[in-house]
């Protein structure tokens, strides 16, 4: 392994996911000698998400017209949010052909393919990509400043005046640096997912898509049972990605494994017909930092910056379910600060503080701050179970035609609320909480 000449870099990035590869790309382009470390067989081989990738304008700035060469699946023109009870579903179905125009609004991607491509872009820019390398130990100089990482190899010390920890949700480096605290099971979610085959023609006619148009459908309600969470179904070129995201503490409280909930999801009357004829390609699972702003740690210390999931930058608010864009934005911002640090030859916490300041002034931390109440609201029991059922039962009352006198909307709503034993006080509370979380 590395000798004296090759084990010194201007910057070391741990983790070749979207955050790490974006960081390596930006720094390498600015002329820094960058090592990009990945513990998997190849970048993306450990990575898993829905995956709908938003913020395409941002990626387009880094890599113009990336969709022409990147392995993206479909551009999203149709977004559906479904509230489900045991037998029914009530959906908001939005589609817009403006989203079919470059630079598009979102793409569906398969992470092992996309992340591999993105790391390749960093490599082309001059970063040294090292795969099958686990870096789970920070090195420090005599003053205690981070000055490298120890990888699990013989003579595995790699040195750089600045390290970017883009090592994913578990980020042992952020914890070792004392930036991230141990997680609580109510702050974290488990995602389980399947990719299933579905031939292009069937897929496009089934979901009302033309050419490379794609659909993102998210579900809340009975699918996750008493557990708090939601489900998703995304279209790829000739496959579907579908799965569930469930709060870990509620899986344990309800003593139900996530894969059983996945079965329930696939059997739901509104989902099963969409899967007809499909066959499984791959099952996967990943932990997701869903608690929002309160889980975002201090993002820097002497010689170290934290980006992507390692920094808790996963944005789950009920309306939005985004992460790759925040990962790329944070990685790129960290790299820009590292480039300035090299110019100033100053890698102190006081200098790297610019990184957090930059994120505070960009959409990244503005979004997290603005929606800081959303994760808690979205995971509340009434929103999870009661309101989706109310919508479905209310719709049933509205649409049932059985010779009985028809009620008007207010009458139906009033009866549903009384039937579900929700007091006006609770309703007012939820309206206030929901408003605070998502409205203003």
């Amino acid at each position: 392994m590395p000798n004296e000449i090759t084990n010194r870099f201007d910057m070391i990035v741990v983790g070749a996911g979207p955050a790490g590869s974006a960081a390596a790309l930006v720094a390498a382009r600015a002329g820094l000698k960058v090592a990009l470390l990945e513990r998997g067989e190849f970048p993306g081989s450990k990575n898993c998400s829905g995956a709908a990738m938003y913020g395409t304008k941002l990626i387009n700035e880094l890599l113009p017209n990336f969709w022409e060469s990147a392995p993206v699946e479909r551009y999203v023109t149709r977004r559906v949010l479904s509230f489900v009870s045991d037998k029914a579903s009530f959906s908001v179905d939005y589609r817009n052909q403006d989203f079919a125009e470059p630079p598009y609004n979102a793409f569906t991607v398969l992470r092992p393919k996309f992340d591999r491509w993105l790391a390749g872009q960093a490599e082309q820019a001059g970063a040294l990509l090292l795969t099958e390398v686990v870096a789970d130990q920070l090195l420090r100089d005599q003053a205690g400043r981070v000055n490298g990482v120890k990888v699990r190899r013989e003579e595995g010390e790699l040195y750089a005046p600045v390290v970017i920890a883009a090592d994913g949700v578990n980020s042992f480096l952020a914890k070792q640096a004392g930036l991230q605290k141990p997680f609580k099971s109510e702050e974290m979610s488990l995602g389980v997912k399947e990719v299933v085959n579905l031939d292009r023609e069937t897929l496009e006619s089934r979901f009302g898509l033309t050419g490379n148009e794609g659909l993102v459908n998210e579900y809340v309600g009975a699918i996750t049972g008493e557990a708090c969470g939601g489900a998703f179904l995304y279209t790829n070129q000739d496959s579907l990605s579908l799965g569930l995201i469930v709060q870990i503490s509620s899986l344990v409280e309800n003593k139900i494994p996530a894969y059983d909930l996945l079965d329930r999801f696939k059997q739901h009357p509104s989902v099963a017909p969409l899967l007809k004829g499909s066959t499984r390609r791959e099952y996967s699972a990943h932990m997701i930092p869903e608690a929002g702003y309160k889980l975002v740690p201090k993002l820097y210390t002497d010689g170290l910056m934290v980006a992507g999931d390692a920094a808790g930058l996963c944005f789950a608010t009920g309306i939005y379910l985004e992460g790759i864009n925040y990962a790329i934005a944070s990685g790129a911002a960290a790299a820009r600060v590292a480039v300035q640090a090299k110019r100033a030859n100053n890698y102190s916490a006081a200098f790297l503080q610019q990184y957090e300041a930059e994120l505070q002034n960009s959409f990244v931390l503005k979004d997290f701050k603005r929606y800081k109440h959303a994760p808690e609201f979205v995971n509340s029991t009434r929103l999870q179970n009661f309101y989706p059922e109310l919508l479905c039962d209310g719709a049933q009352e509205l649409f049932t035609s059985n010779g009985q006198p028809k009620k008007k909307l207010a009458g139906i709503a009033w009866r549903q609320l009384r039937q579900k034993k929700v007091s006006p006080w609770q309703l007012a509370q939820d309206l206030w909480r929901g408003g605070r979380a998502l409205g203003w």
Partner: protein
């Protein structure tokens, strides 16, 4: 011998208990293709057959049963997306690291300090997704 777990109960109810040969421990590049009826209610075992695991000789996660002994919540059993934690009749936990997704859910769910020692597998080993 084994306590009847929720999953088995679920499988029994739906009549979909899988035969042992469906438990493909180390799947190769070839992806098993199953008829769609089965895909709808597979539990976890057949699902794991679709995943590529490069298994190292030494486990990256260990369970200290002396800590688990008086645990009554058994969070790991319900939290693990690969069903790798099995509660034995004597109250101890049997753990198999080979089909681990390295997600971290078990140590986050566990409320017993020191029960689960968790680290990543050696470089290049462990789960290797192709589609996820």
């Amino acid at each position: 011998m084994f306590e009847l777990k929720l999953r088995d109960k679920f499988n029994e109810l739906t009549g979909k208990l899988k035969p042992a040969q469906d438990l493909t421990p180390f799947a190769t590049e070839q992806v098993p293709v199953r008829p769609s009826e089965e895909v709808l209610t597979d539990g976890v075992d057949a699902r794991l057959g679709s995943v590529r695991f490069l298994v190292d000789a030494t486990p990256h996660i260990t369970v200290d049963n002396s800590v688990c002994q008086d645990c009554s919540t058994h969070a790991c059993v319900y939290a693990c997306p690969a069903n790798l934690f099995t509660l034995l009749s004597d109250g101890s936990i049997l753990f198999n690291y080979e089909q681990c997704f390295e997600c971290g859910t078990c140590y986050v769910a566990c409320n017993r300090e020191g029960a689960i020692s968790w680290s990543y597998p050696r470089g290049g080993f462990g789960v290797s997704f192709r589609e996820a």
